[in-house]
Each structure stands twice: as C-alpha cells, then as structure tokens.
Symmetry: C2
Subunit: 389 residues, 2 copies
C-alpha cells in the first residue's frame, strides 16, 4: 500500500424525496445560483419544478443555463462563465448526470480564473479556486457527484480532456434513486459500464499489498452486477436503483483506490472515441475495456484470475491461471451483452477508418506511454482499437 491522503468532502443526502431539500443545502453557500441542466428531461419529469420550488422557498435567486450535451462542450462552459460573471452568480447547482456536473465544475473553476478555462484541461495552469458546485443527481454513472474529476470536450479539434483536482469535489450531492426510474434502458446500462470501469481501472494496478481496497472494489462490482440485472427487468425497483446509485458514487469518490495506482488507459482510449464519434462514454467503455483486458492480461495473470474468481465466481484453475483470467474477461463481456451494451466498435457503427488517427491523438499520460499494467504506446492503442472492432 502506498502512502496517501484522503478526504471526500462532499456531503451526501440520499433517499426518497431528497431533492426537496435542495433549497436548504444550496442556501448554505449562496443566494444567487446558476441552475445548470441538460436537454430538458428534468422539465418533463417534474424535477425542474420541484427543484425550483425548493430554491424559491429558500429565497434563492435562480439563473438558468440548460442545454448541456453528453460529452459536454467547452463552448457552453464558456457561455456559463460569462453568465456567472455578468450576473454575479455565487454557486452552481447541477441537476443532471455526469455531463451536467462536469460542465458545472468547469464553469465554477473558470469563473475564478482570469485566463482561458481550457488551460486547466490542457495542463497549462492549475486551478486555485472554485465558485463551488452542488448536485441533484439524475443518472448514476460518471460518479462526478462526489468525485474530483471533470471531463470536457473542446470542439476546436474535438479534444476530450479530463481534470482531476480536489476543488472539483461538489459540496453536496442529493441522490434520490426514484429519479432514475424513467431513464432509458441504454442510459442505465451505459452508466453501469462507466461505474464498473471506474472500479476496474482502480482494481488493475501494479501496487502490491492492497487487500482491503481489492475487496472493496470486488464488493462494489458484485453489487453493481447483481442490481443491474434486477433493474433491467424491473426499472422501478427502488432497492436495486438505490444500490446502483450508491455504488456509482463509491466507484469514483477515491476511497476504492486509496494507497494504490490505477490503470486509466481504457478511459483515455475511450475518450478519443467519444470525442470523434460522440458515442456515449459508457457504451464506448463497454467496447474498449474488454479489448484492453485481452491485450494486457498476460502482464498480471494472478490479478486477472483473482478478478475472475472473486467477482465472477469463476472456479480457479491453479495450474492454468490464464484459463481462469480469460474466463473472467469472457464473463464481463457476456454481462455487458446481457444488459444490452455493445462490445464491439462495429456495433457502435465505427469502422477501421480513423483508428490510427485516434491512436495517435490519444494522450500519453506517462509522457510517451499510457497505463501501468502494460505501458501502452500509440501502436498498442491502435492494436486495442483493432481488437475491439
């Protein structure tokens, strides 16, 4: 186990009707608030009205910026920054899923920064202050509601880049599982792939002696697998929706990776897909993750066999760990298919035309390579794209 510091400073308010407390929680931080949201589904479901009512009751002046798209765009972030400055807004309330929250985080940082907010994503500058973000979560997936991450897509060149910083941690996250009853099944499934990837990217590590966090990862994965199956058959099962919502947050708040270095190659490799083809991040991950596993598993057979055995109940073949490891990868793919996810680029409508372009564009986070289980070069990334076809 490596040395570490950890504090997840987001207050979680979880359960039925919890969105009705949003005014009280927001009022702790501000009187002038930007309500940030997506394509309008919150208006159809009535959530918008309930949130507005609670904010008004708390005597909060609300400004609005809707229109966040999946793979949230830098353009809208800049529009939000302008609006916040013009109206002297003090706090951003994100009502939505990961895209809305990520966009809110970027706006909150950008308002407090004199330069171009993209500087934070291109690595030119480090954030020092934020306006602060609160969340009403509608989609368990990205884990952005309690995480230090935000991912933004720059339309100028279609670069999709992330920024991890403690300032990105929302101040509160309101989570009512009932709000997820009406999600389209493919959004639920994409969310499941995203949260599982967040855990697996922590799980596959080169750090030794990580017993507790291994087991916490396995516990969370098993919970997601079980409850995703329940939700597929019964979208209004409160208990299962609650488990997924809680698991999605735990998957990415950092606790599961204290004292260990994860391998985030798959997320990086997927970002290129989402940036160019605008596929849903979760669907992209369902395709890329198993391909990544098949490409790298030989570098750590015991860990991939442990994954198969502990998460998927695959019987260990101690004389042939490779067999066990491969069966674990196969189980993961079967599960993704079972809940309706694609597992090939072809299913996403992507052919081999731009694989090289994506591989060359993929950010090498270690300088000239990517990842820790296997240090991937752009050529390896290309091979993984090809394996995923």
């Amino acid at each position: 186990m490596d040395n570490f510091r950890f504090l997840c400073a987001t207050e979680v308010i979880f359960g039925k009707d919890s969105e009705n407390q949003v005014g009280t929680y927001t009022k702790q931080y501000a009187n002038r608030v930007l309500l940030h949201y997506g394509g309008g589904s919150i208006k159809r479901t009535g959530l918008y009205d309930r949130v507005m009512k609670s904010l008004k009751e708390a005597d909060i002046e609300v400004f609005e910026l809707g229109g966040v798209q999946p793979n949230p765009r830098l353009g809208l972030v800049k529009e939000g920054i302008e609006l916040c400055r013009r109206e002297e807004i003090e706090f951003i309330l994100a009502v939505g899923g990961g895209s809305v929250i990520d966009s809110a985080k970027a706006i909150a940082l950008g308002v407090c920064y004199d330069g171009d907010v993209w500087d934070f994503f291109s690595g030119k500058a480090l954030p020092e202050e934020t306006l602060g973000v609160g969340v009403v979560l509608t989609l368990p997936a990205a884990g952005s509601e309690t995480s230090i991450s935000t991912v933004i897509t720059n339309e100028d060149g279609w670069y999709k880049r992330g920024l991890n910083h403690e300032l990105n941690r929302p101040l509160f996250a309101i989570m009512n599982p009932e709000l997820t009853y009406t999600l389209p099944p493919e959004q639920t499934a994409n969310g499941v792939a995203d949260m599982m990837a967040h855990i697996m990217e922590r799980y596959f590590t080169t750090t030794k002696d990580v017993d507790l966090t291994d087991r916490l990862c396995e516990a969370t994965l098993k919970t997601i697998i079980r409850n995703a199956r329940i939700v597929k058959d019964n979208p209004q099962d409160y208990a299962a929706r609650a488990e997924l919502m809680l698991a999605g947050s735990l998957a990415h708040n950092g606790l599961l990776s204290v004292g260990r270095v994860g391998d985030w190659s798959s997320h990086q490799i997927e970002h290129e897909l989402s940036a160019i083809y605008d596929v849903a991040h979760g669907a992209g991950l369902a395709v890329i993750y198993p391909a990544w596993m098949k490409y790298v598993y030989k570098n750590d057979l015991p860990r991939f066999a442990q994954f198969a055995h502990r998460v998927w109940n695959v019987e260990l073949n101690l004389e042939n760990l490779e067999e066990t490891a491969l069966e674990g990868i196969r189980q993961l793919e079967l599960f993704f298919k079972e809940i309706g996810l694609p597992t090939t680029l072809t299913e996403l409508g992507i052919d081999d035309q731009r694989l090289e372009e994506m591989a060359n564009k993929c950010k090498m986070t270690n300088g000239d390579s990517l990842g820790v289980v296997m240090k991937l070069t752009p050529k390896d990334v290309l091979n993984i794209y090809k394996l995923a076809l």
Copy 2:
C-alpha cells in the same frame, strides 16, 4: 435501504513517516495546542519527540496532558477542560489510541460548554460547538480517529457512556502503520475484536435491501481476519499492519452503515463489564459478541447464515440454515481464540457475582429494551452474561 446523510469530514493522512506532518496539519487550526496522550509509551518509542519536533517547527505552543487510561475517565476530561480554559488553548491533538482520542473529544466539547460535560453523556444536553481535535493514531481499534463517537467512564458510580455526534469527528487523522509494530500482542488482538464488532454491529440489522453495505462489511471483515493472522506471526509486517489500520477506521467512520440501522447491544452490554471490571473493551467484546449471537441468531437465520458463508467461507446448508449460522459463530470464536483473545467471562476472571447488577445497569437504548435483531430486556442481558460465563 433507508434514507441517509453522510459525510466523513476527517482528512486521513496515511503511511510511513506521516507523523512528521503533524505540525503542518495542526497549524491549519491553531497556534496553542493541548497535546493529549496516555501512559507514556509514546515517550519510550520516540513518537513524542517526533511529534514535538514537528509542532515546534510549525511554531506551535504546546501544552501537555498525559495520563489517559484505558476506559478514559471523566476526572481527567475535566482536568483537561480546566487546563484548556486557563491557557486559552485552541485545539486538542490526541496522540494515542481510542481512549486518548475519546478523552480529547470530550475535552474539546467541554471547553465550549458552560455546564457539566457529563450532561452530553447522560443525555441532558446536546453539544453545539467543539474546540476541534486532530489525531496521531497509535492503536487501530476503536476507530475513534474518524468516527463521531466518544465513550467516557464516570468514576462516580462507574458509568461508561457514549456520545455520537458529528462534532466529534476529528479534523485530521495521521496514521502510520509502523507505529503499531511495538504494540503488545494482546492490544493488537483487542483492537481486532473491537473493529470486527464495529462492523458486525452494523452488519446485523433489520433494515432490508442493504446489498452494497453488506458486501463492504464482509470485505472489511475478511481483510481484518486475514491480516490479523499475518500480524500475529509477524508483528512488523508493514502491509498487514497497514490493512488493519485502514480497516479499523473504515469499520467505524459510518460508511459501512449508511442507510441501515445497526444493532449495538453488544457494545452496550460490554460497556458494563469494562466499567465495573475495567477489562479491555476489545477483550470484553470478544467474550460478549459470540454470546449475543448465540442468544439472538434464530431471529434472523438467513443473515447469520450469510455471515457464515460470505465471511467465513462456510458451505451453505440450505436445508438447515441453522447449522450454517451456528458454524459461522463457531468460526468467529475459533478465530478469536486463535489470535489469543478470551471468549469467556471466566477467562477474564469474572464470575457470576455481579451479573445481575450489570444487567440492571445496562442502558436500554430503546427506552425499555436494547437492540433491533432481538429487543433485549435486562433479563435477556443477564442471560447473555450467563451464556458468556
């Protein structure tokens, strides 16, 4: 899953040499600090010198109060409150295990309260402010370093009473597993029993649909069991010491019981033992917990069988869950014995003389009963003491 709010606001600084950062962390909160500790082992090990050096380097004025005993006493708490007021101390730094931290928490609350600090423990008043506490942990056991709990013993009548309040959460907790290398084996074992009890008291619940937290509890228990065995044979195994230290904190910071109601009867029943016979809390729990289980398991056979199966790898007998459940309890007892813990009152040198007195004194937390798996009356508590003889 029940609705819940959760925020563990303690910053954890974990790993080798981390105590050398104590000055920096303390300085964030205060310039005049009470250094609170126990019987002087921190002087023998050199920890005292390292802490003082770091505090001096941060230009902090240090006042000292040592002498905290196991089952920390109200008398010393009051002495600490006086000292803090007299010297206008701004913050308490607890260097030690649960007793020292609990004592520090009580002092920190008492300084900010005009009445008798025992009012908080007798239920006469609720705390509204605290001076704030930081921790350098030397004994993984009570989990007090990140918990909302403090337990104090009133020498006037030997009442041992706890107070759970969010204000009790330390502001930071510095944890270096190396500091636990020199613990006497029985202290390590007592700590293991305490942290396991914290998890089991959350695990045995009447709340339905608690999939993720069940699995997180099981993961943490399995980690403790495995690493306690390693540490027994090799007290200086850093990896195993680190796992125990991290697990002890997670066991009691509240995450493992979000959305569920635990059954804390055993802690309450043990408190009477510790108060009258001054036995180590962990040793008392190792005796009481299995007795409690034997007394109540029939009230929830599936859960006790799940515990046996998932935590102890006991094969499920689906036609006779009782057999499985009992085997789980037996495995727990065997494990306690294996790591050198007592499992009977007799081994603690306690006979049947004062069992009725303790049973009648035991605080009925539900008004006229105790616990949720089975609502225990004082007569049930007496039966449990007898089962433990």
